[in-house]
Amino acid sequence: MNGYVEAGYIMVLGTLSSYGVALVAREHAARRRVGTAAVEESIATSADAPVTDLTSPAPRDTPVVMPGELEQDAPGRAP
């Protein structure tokens, strides 16, 4: 055709496929690092968990942060 058309198509398709491949590769790498079992669990529990706000800590956060720590932020919980 005339170079511009080819350049446009190559640019678009090339960028999208490299981005896609990079995403899949990063996903695989992350999965390896985390360990499949842990991931399944974390996905299953985090999927529906409401996110922490000041008044109601999310279930997901419970295993990580104990109430004692969170309470530093929460008013009205002083002993």
Partner: protein, 199 residues
């Protein structure tokens, strides 16, 4: 924050007491008691306060990115307010504002009148002369440099340049071809492939 800080530590301290030994997961209270005691007055954070060199580098990168992005936004808003709002003047507007425009550079828009396009060959290069028209007002344009490949009579163009001297002649160095948003298949008989491909 600073007034709840100490109480927070007390709470955490009491939590490490023998009352709840087994309830801890990964012994988190130990960390909040001993670790947090040193930085009791700082904002409570889950992430350890001391930044590793990697984290510091990341933060620096983020700061640089932030500055660049804010600068770019500023630049684009400026461009939008100065160039983009009035991207061109139509031929009739330009002639009406002839006096105030002087010899300043601006974008002039108009339809290329059929039958007015003529090539002028000079030693310095190709010059093309034509007349653009808008709302019945005509402006003669001389453009230095070769016009874009889609340039032809009967289409709207925007020429970038200025009026010459005190005349109504317009000297441009750039022709922008406007295109409608309709796409019509070329008639097979009129297909003149751009470089031999025949479709």
């Amino acid at each position: 924050m600073s007034d709840i800080g100490p109480t927070g530590v007390t709470t955490a301290d009491s939590a490490t007491g023998p009352g709840r030994p087994g309830s801890s997961r990964d012994g988190f209270e130990d960390e909040s008691a001993s670790g947090e005691a040193g930085t009791a007055l700082s904002a409570p954070r889950r992430i350890p306060r001391i930044l590793s060199p990697e984290q510091r580098r990341q933060r620096r990168r983020l700061e640089v990115a932030g500055v660049v992005i804010v600068a770019a936004i500023g630049f684009l808003v400026f461009k939008g307010l100065t160039s983009a709002i009035v991207f061109f003047k139509t031929a009739n507007e330009a002639v009406a504002q002839r006096a105030t425009l002087g010899n300043s550079t601006f974008q002039l828009e108009g339809m290329v009148l059929p039958g007015t396009v003529h090539l002028i060959r000079e030693s310095s290069g190709t010059t093309v002369g034509f007349v653009v028209e808008s709302s019945g007002v005509k402006v003669a344009v001389t453009n230095t440099g070769s016009p874009p490949q889609l340039f032809q009579p009967g289409i709207p163009v925007i020429v970038v340049g200025h009026f010459v001297g005190a005349s109504d002649r317009f000297a441009s160095d750039q022709i922008l071809v406007k295109h409608s948003n309709s796409y019509i298949a070329a008639h097979p008989n009129r297909v003149r492939a751009l470089n031999g491909t025949k479709r």
